[in-house]
């Protein structure tokens, strides 16, 4: 599982590299673009996602101690919090579509760096979209694990699938830990408006 996660580091790493490079090239556009994102929604989502990591860790702990019912409950809590995250993300996306801030032929942006802001928003959608896709895959994983726990398939001697699913979920959380400051927060203070 760790080996898989290392490949995932490089998968997301490429996108972070693209982000870094364009940020070096177009710092003004990056500042303008990050102002377009909603800090409150992003902040709430950060709390929600880290909270889901907590419930995931507690699910693994319950599995280690051989408590199947608690394992199922914590897993369901994790999936619910993940669901909240995606719903909020959906609202953010909907707002972007409504404001014509989705890169493409319908992109409209007032400002001197519109073209570069479009690149910023392209990266925003690519990175958060890939992240959201990972969460959807995580839902599938956690559902299977929860079903197995419900069927009493795990014991303190053998709970590896719960642990592996946990590692995956925490990894997705870590990606967001980097995405949130880089996309929502960075350069916010440098805009006087």
């Amino acid at each position: 599982m760790w080996l898989f996660l290392v490949t995932e580091i490089m998968f997301f790493g490429g996108l972070f590299m693209a982000y870094l490079l364009y940020r070096v090239w177009y710092p003004e556009a990056w500042a303008e673009g990050s102002l377009e994102l909603d800090v409150v929604l992003g902040g709430v989502n950060t709390v929600v996602l880290i909270g889901s990591s907590l419930t995931m860790a507690l699910a693994v702990r319950a599995a280690q101690k051989g408590l199947p019912r608690a394992t199922v409950n914590w897993l369901l809590a994790t999936v619910s919090l993940g669901g909240v995250f995606l719903v909020i993300k959906g609202f953010e996306y909907a707002h972007k579509f409504h404001a014509h801030h989705v890169p493409g032929p319908n992109f409209v942006f007032e400002g001197p760096h519109a073209k570069q802001v479009e690149i910023f928003l392209s990266l925003y959608f690519a990175m958060t979209g890939l992240h959201a896709l990972h969460m959807v895959i995580g839902f599938g994983l956690l559902s299977v694990i929860a079903w197995m726990a419900y069927r009493r398939r795990f014991s303190p001697e053998w709970y590896a699938p719960v642990e592996m699913a946990g590692l995956y979920w925490h990894f997705v959380d870590i990606v967001w830990i980097f995405l949130f400051p880089l996309l929502y927060l960075v350069d916010r203070a440098h805009q006087s408006s």
Binding site: V6, G14, A57, H170, P181
Partner: protein, 98 residues
Amino acid sequence: MPGHVAPRSTYLTIFATLMVLTGVTISVAFINLGGLNFPVALTIAVLKATLVVLFFMHLKDSSRLTKLIVGTGVFFLFVLFSLTLTDYLSRGWETFAR
């Protein structure tokens, strides 16, 4: 793989710390520190990620092989960033040399 079971308080403490760091990174983002905003935000993010990896993902109690694998992944991520930026950031330099 029966392993070490961490007490519940560990997870709650880590979660609380992560929340505090989230609060700090949001507040700092609204203060103009000039060129320091980016490094500060990144440092806090790295700190948070380290806490998640060590405690939520149990790397602290994992085998040396696992730690080596994670270290390798992070190392090559740095290779990707540093080599690419070495190229792009130094492209304008030759004009100064002449």
